[in-house]
């Protein structure tokens, strides 16, 4: 672990996110506050519609809160303009989605290279980095395969490798086992555990009790509020 281990990496304070639905205003988050420290592996759980994914989107800087603040690694990100928010996501945050969302036209390696290319990494360097990550997730032999030629578990592993491409401060995963069968889901859980063991800070949103149990901290949400902050393991 680095000397900053244990320092707050996610700081959320009094976060409110409201949506307009016709003439009504619906509050998806109602004043949420919590902190995730470097090296933590936290799960956010709760029933559907409780605001888990909304919270993850706000931490991931792909949405803006109605009120409240979000800081990542000490930097306020809740009011960033589009260009700075995009750059922040590129360099500081890794996203893993339930549906993998790989670019169908690109090979496994090229999918991993996409954020590297965007960050201006030279071709040979990004190729090396992509191969290193493919090896890390156990798919070195599948570098040339398109997403359509990969199984769901393999696609999710490529998506994780893509999320790690620019060595982000924080890995966010939204229902990462949601589209996988039990055996593949277990492999994914093991991969996340390995990643965390290697120093990656991870926050997952999940309905999967097995995945939640595998994390070091479980944050419970209900009706847009945190009802249990859990404790760091």
């Amino acid at each position: 672990m680095s000397e900053l281990a244990g320092a707050p990496i996610v700081e959320v304070h009094d976060l409110v996110r409201e949506y307009r639905m016709g003439n009504e205003t619906v509050a998806a988050l109602k004043g949420v506050s919590f902190t995730v420290r470097q090296g933590e592996y936290a799960a956010i759980v709760g029933p559907s519609g409780c605001g888990k994914s909304t919270l993850l989107n706000l931490i991931g800087v792909i949405d803006r809160p109605t009120r409240g603040t979000v800081s990542i690694a000490g930097e306020r990100v809740d009011q960033l303009g589009d260009a700075r928010a995009t750059d922040f996501r590129l360099r500081r945050i890794g996203f893993v989605f339930q549906r993998f969302y790989l670019m169908p036209a690109l090979s496994a390696r090229e999918n991993i290279e996409l954020p590297l290319a965007e960050a201006g990494v030279k071709k040979s360097a990004r190729r090396d980095r992509a191969m290193t990550l493919l090896e890390y997730v156990g798919l070195a032999r599948r570098e040339r395969h398109r997403p359509s030629q990969l199984s769901g578990g393999e696609q999710q592993r490529v998506a994780i490798a893509r999320a790690l491409a620019n060595s982000p401060s924080l890995l966010l995963a939204d229902e990462p086992t949601g589209e996988l069968d039990a055996r593949t889901g277990a492999e994914m859980i093991a991969l996340f555990a390995r990643l965390n063991g290697d120093g990656t800070t991870i926050v997952v949103v999940t309905h999967d009790e097995v995945l939640a149990r595998a994390t070091k901290r479980v944050i419970h949400m209900r009706d847009g509020s945190i009802v249990d902050h859990g404790t760091a393991g």
């Binding site: 792909i62 260009a83 750059d87 996501r89 969302y101 169908p104 036209a105 965007e118």
Partner: protein, 396 residues
Amino acid sequence: MLLTLAAASLFRHRARTLLAVLGVAVSAAMLLDMVMLASGMRESFRSLLLSQGFQLRLAPRGTLPFDTEATIGDAGALVATLRSRGAVQAVSPVLGGQLHVPLADGTTVTGAALGVDPAVQGDYELLDGRQPAGMNEIVANDAMLAAIGRHVGDTVRVAAGYDAQMRSLSGERVVRVTGRVRFIYMAAGQRATALPIDALRAMQGATAADRISLAMVRLTPGADVDRERAAIERLLPRVTVISTAEAIRQVDERLSYFRQLAVILGAVSLVVGFLLVTTLVTVSVNERIGEIAVMRAIGVRRWRVVAQIVLEAGAIMLVAAPLGLALGLVTARYLNSILARFPGLPERIDFFLFQPSAAWTALGLLALCGVLSGIYPSWRSASLPIATTLRQEAVG
């Protein structure tokens, strides 16, 4: 990476991309044709007027060359005056008239006749044989030779006048056909001959003595055409002096309908091409809205998404452009052959004149169209809220 994604997107729906390319090619062909039409006739007329190197034309005061049967008297002195000017390199006097050829079956073939100075004339090109040198020699075009059934080297009886009621000829003469020619300013298919101006005058009789219908003036290289035109008009007030630029301006006025039509149809074809590509790109972008949201979520900049989609639109235009260019040239040739049959037009006038500038203009407009057609749908999709789009895609 950007190119790979753009190419993959186009190849994903090959049939749709192909149809779009064909649609844009047709639109491009029409655009090119209209650009060619807008300037073609003018440029063609200009090149026709300048083809023999004569920059000024003198006609009887208040008329255009060969617009009336009026002639200019005291032609010898006039030509001498012109030739004495320092800026004048050559003067070609022309007398217009008709030539009648009685055939063995009792019928008479009539054609235009130009009395010229064969040494400096600028009215025809010699295709076969030689220039008429003596008083009993003529040259004729294919239409005339075919009508009278004669060839180069044959002799033929001709007359300058024909009284249809009395069925009698006047100013008769037996001449030898010394050459086969193509008249530059005559309409396609019009029968015509040319002979030395003195021979035609002699055949026409006293009314034509020392008269000309027109004089064409070639200036020395570097001479100021407008200044010389004004000077000659001052010096010879009984003639109207028309420069090539003035003749083109007059043609321009008469052809303004063509130009307006070309501009309107060209604009319509451009709009059709624009709408076609915009529709295609919008459909394509809507299908990939989730992909685009993910790209944005993982940190791909908005302009990069826009660039990728504009690249796709541009690629369609780029592939369609050469196809459209080829199609445009083929259709222009076909349309030109139809319009060339318009009565009274010189054979060498082209309605659709290909010029590199026309092709570049059409290509430039198409490229601009391609960029603009990609910008709106791509910017719209790249500006959608990422979280909401992903949520909707996940539900969908």
